[in-house]
């Protein structure tokens, strides 16, 4: 069996209130990926459509998209693992190509969250947890991650100031990412200014500035076999390692509140498959749905020892010029988080970085990149390692 590569990446701008339908939103990411890969729609053998359900009214969006994008009569299907849907889609595309069943597969992620209110959206996200035993208590994503933040602060002395530093870093790069939703600078002092919206309480200890925003967006990855890559692509990003894990949905089944077990397990698998270790990673995208999530990710991925994640952001080691640049596209905190499109956007950034095509966001000559994408509250975790 040959290797498998990503030969095309695309994403729409991530926005609030996209003025079109979901198929039109999907078209934006798809078109950019096809143009990037320099292939035509007839080169694609199958498609995997990814999102989290219930943000729009369309049931089974794969059929609608396949029709709109010209991907019929090729096989298509819908896949979801909440916020990690596109990374899980990439994992499935890899196996379809690796098995020889298909040569070129499109993974298309999308989410149009603006059709419902923010409170309705929190209710839906809360129902991504255990609807029988947890949701009746009135749960939402920020509250769950806030419990992890609290436990980490208590055990390791991580502070709210450390979390603010993650947002400051994110905003540094959000300003230079033309596809990001939030493009303004953020100062650490904004979090201590009671009149600044960043300091507004959401769920203790997390504040507005600690949380990423809902957004509308799409992303697309074109995955191809080694055989096809030779004729099609000059700058493929090879899939070197894939890891994925799941955990108890109900918090009562968790043993760890100072990290995400799924991220640790997925990272171990991906490092092993790629034959690399954390020190070999030159650039990374991590799932910073909340500021604390990025600190947990540093530790779960082995960039820092447990409890020492805060040092990375304090010492600016995860800035573009640092030892291990993380989220130099602004991350979820700045780009916004259109659930089903997020993983594809993270992977797109790493592919562009490896090719040297990341423009202002480019880090110096990376050879190996990593993507950490989490679904739910550490319910699903994927880690993907890519190389030139």
């Amino acid at each position: 069996m040959g290797k498998v590569a990503i030969i095309g990446v695309g994403q729409s701008s991530f926005v609030r209130g996209y003025p079109g339908s979901i198929r039109e939103l999907a078209y934006e990411g798809f078109k950019e990926a096809l143009e990037d890969a320099q292939i035509s729609v007839s080169d694609i053998d199958a498609s995997i459509i990814c999102s989290a359900p219930e943000y729009d009214k369309q049931r089974s969006p794969s059929g609608v998209f396949a029709e709109y994008l010209g991907l019929v009569p090729q096989p298509t299907c819908y896949l979801e693992s909440l916020c990690s849907s596109t990374s899980m889609g990439l994992r499935m595309a890899y196996s379809l190509v690796k098995s020889g069943l298909h040569e070129v597969v499109a993974v298309l992620g999308f989410q149009k969250m603006s059709e419902i209110s923010s409170a309705e959206s929190q209710e839906r996200m809360g129902r991504g947890a255990d609807i029988q035993w947890e949701s009746p208590f009135g749960t939402m994503m920020p509250a769950y991650y806030a419990m992890f933040a609290r436990a980490h602060m208590e055990k390791y002395g991580t502070t709210l100031e450390d979390m603010a530093l993650v947002r400051v870093k994110s905003a540094t790069y959000g300003q230079i990412n033309e596809k990001a939703l939030f493009r303004k600078p953020v100062a650490a002092e904004n979090f201590s200014d009671p009149n600044h919206f960043m300091s507004g309480p959401v769920s203790s200890p997390l504040r507005v500035g600690d949380c990423c925003a809902n957004a509308d967006g799409s992303s697309c990855l074109i995955v191809a076999s080694e055989k096809k890559v030779k004729g099609m692509s000059k700058k493929p990003a090879w899939i070197l390692g894939l890891g994925a894990a799941s955990a108890s949905v109900n918090m009562s089944g968790r043993d760890l509140f100072t990290g995400l077990a799924v991220a640790r397990q997925a990272a171990d698998q991906a490092y092993k498959m790629a034959g690399v270790n954390p020190k070999d990673i030159d650039v990374a995208e991590v799932h910073d749905c909340f500021t604390v999530s990025e600190i947990l990710a540093y530790e779960d991925l082995g960039f820092a020892k447990p409890g020492e994640g805060k040092e990375l952001v304090r010492n600016k080691e995860t800035y573009k010029e640092g030892r291990i640049p993380v989220n130099v596209d602004g991350g979820l905190l700045s780009k916004g988080h259109p659930i089903g499109a997020t993983g594809g956007s993270q992977i797109r950034t790493i592919v562009l970085e490896l090719r040297g095509d990341a423009g202002e966001m480019q880090v110096k000559n990376p050879e190996i990149g990593l993507v950490h994408n989490i679904g739910g509250v550490g319910l699903y975790g994927t880690v993907t390692i890519l190389g030139r």
Partner: protein, 146 residues
């Protein structure tokens, strides 16, 4: 006069929580116990595995012979968060705290009693789980200082 037999629907679980999202479950007796002031988990009669939240089926030995046990004694507070913003349907409960208690053999996810001020909540503190009737008549359980 023929009358179609009306099938009884056991939807007791719709009473659980401020807003319940499911009404049919094989562990509906949980609600009866709540009404009697008891918070209960289940135990597999074949392999002894203990479950909270309660479940009707054991994934370890594939037995559905379960028995109820009462959650009693003290648990240790592992972590919590107080919500200042609520999802649709829960606005009238604000502010409220969600939390996880560790009982050793099992853990419980739930709410901290509204009577416990946030400044008195400390991780590691001992708490007990008690039945709570919500203002809308629904039932849940909350953690109080032990």
């Amino acid at each position: 006069m023929s009358q179609k037999e009306k099938k009884e629907i056991d939807d007791r679980f719709k009473k659980f929580g401020t807003v319940s999202f499911t009404s049919l479950t094989k562990v509906n007796d949980f609600i009866d116990y709540l009404e009697k002031g008891k918070v209960m988990g289940t135990r597999c009669q074949d392999c002894g595995q203990v479950f909270f939240p309660p479940r009707a089926d054991c994934y370890k030995c594939l037995s559905s012979k379960i028995e109820w046990f009462e959650v009693s004694g003290k648990g240790k507070l592992l972590t919590y968060s107080q919500l200042k913003y609520a999802p649709v349907g829960f606005e009238n409960d604000l502010p409220y705290s969600i939390a996880v208690l560790d009982y050793g053999d099992y853990k419980i996810f739930g709410r901290i009693a509204g009577s416990v001020p946030e400044e008195e909540i400390k991780l590691g503190m001992e708490m007990k789980t008690v039945v709570h009737t919500l203002p809308n008549g629904q039932l849940n359980y909350v953690f109080e200082k032990a």
